[in-house]
């Protein structure tokens, strides 16, 4: 097998595409040139990223496809890229969703389209970088860099309160991650290395673990987001443009969960056990409380945003249960939520493009007007509820099973979240698509065009595929998770 430096290529290719986009003609009517460059870049990057799952050795728990570059003249501080079973699915998810975003953007008109596409392609590079960095400093650099394009996407192309939301997003995330920076520097000073693989061999005294755990927690709890650090999310989602919301819900939130698994759980086992009740407490509140908030929302995007917080509550429950089922559940839940919430945001975006509003009460009986969309929306709704056969079911089922082995009470309470999810999602579907046609809706409506159909179809297939055969993901993650699970006793409480 040829030794392709696949990860550097995945990071650099979007940057080359970015150059093409920026150099494309400015006076172009529909910015066709830049759109074509963006499509080519994202298609080739997605196809290249498929190289990873096909050449991945499932038996090896360590990092694979490792490429390391001299950065500072020191053996301990290198720019290192690599993937293991935990990060590999997320890289494919990132390239997949960015590709769909670019396809979805293709027929649209927007102000300054070149810059819009450029931001997404730049995001792709940073996202792949974040998931493939296996050195603390390179991880931090990619992790933070994401703020810049995302800030511009929300603030420039967003809705009416875009500026406020962009600030809130930027500052909330920044304040969490700077504390992580101190923790990273501390780890470097303590052990003289920032390589994640080598740091796994060290153990720290308990009281230091607690502080480091809190520093990492500050960063990822804001990112994922956990209650009560979630308040930036509804604002950012409501104001962001459709594709911005897709990336935000689809991938950026997953950085939090990924970080919890990669850092808090792997490096700091004692502190993780210590804080598990705390995490359970916050997660249960997130699941129940934000679900209730979601039920009363009048804005579709806000509803999905609050439901994201609730779904992420399951992810944190699964992660900190720290057994194989829990971690599997958390990873599947993250991937599936990445696909489902992205799909829902795409749908809402399509509705918004047609009626220029996201008010739930404005609609009614939409299924008679746009039957194809109502079909796809139903699939996505069932996925979000966790209907058996969809990917959402696998995630929630595994998570609840693992939590049950830890604490019956927590499992009991959080399983109500599934019912609540059904409540708000089905209510949404009923109000918008079923019933008599609302008088607001005029007769002439564009049916789904081909780009939308491609997007929705691809996402539905993914939901069903993972739902029917979760081993597609789980077979990759098992060996890498084994090491983490072995750090934790079978009974915590």
């Amino acid at each position: 097998m040829i030794n392709l430096p696949i990860l550097p290529i995945l990071i650099c290719l979007p940057l080359i595409g970015l150059l093409f986009i920026l150099l494309s003609s400015e006076n172009d009517e529909n910015s066709i040139q830049s759109k074509k460059s963006a499509i080519w870049t994202s298609v080739s990057n997605f196809l290249l990223s498929l190289y990873l799952p096909f050449n991945f050795n499932k038996e090896i728990p360590h990092f694979q496809f490792v490429n390391s570059f001299n950065w500072f003249n020191s053996d301990n501080l290198k720019f290192t890229l690599g993937v293991d079973g935990i990060s590999m699915p997320f890289i494919v998810l990132s390239t997949f969703l960015i590709l769909l975003c670019v396809i979805y953007i293709y027929p649209q008109k927007k102000k300054n389209m070149r810059m819009y596409l450029a931001s997404f392609i730049l995001l792709e590079s940073f996202l792949v970088g974040t998931f493939s960095a296996i050195d603390l400093f390179s991880f931090y650099i990619f992790f933070e860099s994401i703020l810049i394009p995302m800030y511009l996407i929300i603030g420039f192309w967003g809705g009416d309160r875009r500026v406020y939301s962009a600030y809130k997003f930027f500052l909330y995330t920044l304040i969490g991650s700077v504390l992580m920076l101190i923790a990273i520097i501390f780890l470097y000073q303590e052990f003289g290395t920032t390589s994640i693989a080598r740091l796994l061999d060290y153990t720290l005294p308990f009281y230091i673990q607690v502080w480091l755990w809190l520093a990492f927690f500050a960063s990822f709890a804001v990112k994922i987001p956990m209650w009560p650090f979630h308040t930036w999310l509804p604002d950012a989602h409501v104001e962001a443009p459709t594709e911005g919301s897709v990336i935000l819900a689809g991938i950026l939130l997953k950085l939090g969960g990924y970080g919890f698994i990669r850092f808090n759980l792997s490096f700091l086992p004692d502190a993780s056990i210590f804080f598990t009740p705390f995490i359970y407490f916050l997660s249960v509140i997130a699941i129940i409380y934000t679900s209730f908030i979601a039920i009363v929302q009048e804005d579709m995007k806000k509803l999905i945003a609050y439901s994201s917080v609730a779904h992420m509550g399951f992810v944190t429950l699964g992660i900190f249960s720290a057994n194989m089922q829990g971690l599997h559940g958390a990873i599947v839940q993250m991937i599936s939520h990445g696909i489902i919430s992205a799909a829902l945001f795409f749908c809402i975006g399509s509705i918004y493009n047609r009626y220029k509003t996201k008010e739930i009460n404005y609609f009614g009986g939409l299924s008679q007007k746009i039957p194809k969309m109502s079909f796809f929306f139903l699939i996505f709704t069932l996925g979000a509820i966790g209907f058996p056969g969809s990917s959402g079911f696998i995630g929630e089922f595994l998570t609840l099973m693992s939590v049950y082995s830890r604490s019956t009470l927590v499992a009991f309470i959080s399983s109500f979240g599934v019912i609540l999810a059904a409540t708000y999602m089905l209510l949404l579907y009923k109000k918008v698509f079923l019933g008599p046609i609302n008088s607001n809706i005029d007769n002439k409506v564009n049916q789904l065009h081909v780009y939308e159909t491609i997007t929705f179809l691809a996402l539905s297939i993914m939901i069903l595929m993972i739902g029917i055969k979760p081993n597609l993901i789980l077979s990759y993650t098992t060996s890498s998770l084994d090491r983490i699970v072995s750090l934790y006793p079978i009974t915590i409480f």
Partner: protein, 475 residues
């Protein structure tokens, strides 16, 4: 000759002074370009002898690579400001040959400052550069604000001078010499350091804090930055800051290195107050120049942190931070210089609104520099912050590191507020901005530098490590 650079600059300055009255047309440009040539020659002679170490004039001055390196940075930033002066249109009152000459003489003062090895020579050279700066600040004779700023700067500067003299006299009274090595030897011999010496040091520290605008001695900074002509603000926020920081490092590391326990706490207090005031003070500002004043205070506070451990790594980190700070600051000020409406300079943040529509390239460059100032990776500002934080965490000063990162988040708010104005706001009235290609090219260069530092940080580390080493060779 070991002090060749200073001699070249001084003689050249005198020559330019003599010929300036005889040039009729566009004399300020002619003298300006000659001044640039002179600076270039001086740099060349510094680079030639950069690794030489020698005491000259019986220990009055010291030539080492730390000093030579700082002189290079000072001259580069001074030269760039002079170049800005030549390529950008100004108010008529600034178009006089004296402007370049005064810049040159203050550069001479700074060069002496960073190589001073005696409290007396240090005092004289600080005065030389300060007096030149007072003139520069009040250079727009017709402009009331400029004169007011000049007076303010002069009053505060004289106060700082008095305090410095008082502190040195205390030290002289105790040690019996003003020579740095005598002071150092005195402290090594003494089993416990007399209180008077520490009080003397505190006075000197306060005086230098006034010059460097570290809080709580920062009060003059926003007013002077706002009142002075923009080109002068660009100058006083760069070269003199480097020079004074150089003096501070040299003083604290070499003669007073023995009492690090005492001055370490003071520097911690200075840096915490600077970071807090620098970040909170700027939030409500609506004028870019005032905002940049607070930004300077914030950056100074961040750099002071690196001084606290008094180690080589600290000095290395500070030197790199200084270089990166200069490129960011000069970029922003070059932009402000070009902000004009109907031939009049405007400096309000709201004047930036909708810049991306009229000047997309410039808007992008400025945004990169602003994000860099906020310390967002992968830009240059982050590298500087990372290196300083590394030093701070290494010496277990976690509370300091936490305060530093939290204040830098607050500071990020006002930098991204400017980015917001550039991209998100609708244009009010169009600026006729950046009409000349040199400015555009320079802005692109500055932002490109800020983008790419992350790829070769080791180059700067090696450079700064070697100069920090030369500083510690004295001990």
């Amino acid at each position: 000759m070991i002090i060749l650079p200073e001699i070249i600059l001084s003689l050249g300055f005198l020559l330019l002074l003599c010929i300036s009255p005889f040039i009729k047309a566009d004399s300020h440009k002619f003298i300006g370009y000659l001044g640039l040539l002179l600076i270039f020659l001086t740099q060349f002679s510094i680079v030639k002898d950069i690794f030489i170490f020698e005491e000259v004039f019986e220990g009055f001055f010291i030539i080492d690579s730390f000093g030579s390196f700082l002189k290079l940075i000072i001259l580069i930033s001074g030269g760039l400001v002079l170049f800005f002066y030549l390529i950008v249109k100004h108010d008529k009152s600034l178009n006089r040959p004296e402007f370049s000459l005064v810049v040159l003489i203050s550069l001479i003062g700074m060069m002496f400052m960073v190589s001073a090895n005696n409290l007396l020579s240090l005092f004289v050279s600080i005065e030389l550069q300060s007096l030149a700066l007072y003139i520069l600040v009040s250079f727009s004779k017709e402009d009331l604000n400029s004169s007011e700023a000049g007076v303010k700067y002069f009053v505060v500067g004289s106060l700082s001078t008095c305090i410095f003299l008082f502190g040195s006299s205390l030290i002289y009274g105790l040690v019996g010499s003003t020579d740095f090595s005598s002071i150092s030897n005195y402290m090594i011999d003494q089993p416990d350091i007399p209180m008077i010496l520490i009080i003397g040091l505190i006075f000197i520290l306060v005086s230098i804090s006034l010059k460097i605008s570290a809080a709580p001695f920062h009060m003059w900074t926003p007013d002077v930055y706002e009142g002075a002509p923009t080109i002068v603000t660009a100058f006083i926020s760069t070269a003199p800051k480097v020079a004074v920081f150089g003096v501070l490092i040299r003083l604290l590391v070499f003669p007073f290195g023995e009492i690090i326990v005492d001055w370490g706490k003071l520097v911690i207090i200075l840096s915490i107050t600077s970071m807090i005031i620098g970040s909170l003070g700027a939030i409500m500002q609506s004028d870019i120049k005032r905002l940049m004043a607070y930004s300077t205070i914030n950056h100074i506070g961040f750099m002071l942190m690196g001084l606290v451990p008094g180690t080589e790594e600290g000095i290395t980190a500070i030197s790199i931070y200084l270089i990166l700070y200069l490129t960011m600051n000069l970029g922003v000020f070059l932009f402000i210089l070009n902000m004009q409406r109907d031939q009049i300079n405007v400096t309000a943040i709201k004047d930036l609104s909708g810049l991306y529509k009229t000047e997309p390239v410039m808007a992008g460059c400025l945004a990169i520099i602003l994000f860099s100032m906020a310390g967002i990776p992968p830009l240059a500002g982050f590298v500087g912050k990372l290196l300083i934080l590394n030093v701070v965490v290494d010496s277990n000063l976690f509370f300091l590191a936490v305060i530093a990162v939290l204040t830098s988040v607050i500071a990020a708010f006002y930098y991204i507020r400017m980015v917001k104005s550039i991209f998100f706001d609708e244009p009010t009235e169009e600026l006729d901005i950046l009409t000349n290609n040199q400015s555009k090219l320079l802005m692109i260069l500055f932002s490109f530098f800020n983008l790419t530092v992350i790829l070769y940080p080791q180059f700067f580390l090696n450079l700064s490590a070697s100069i920090a080493l030369s500083l510690f060779a004295l001990k």
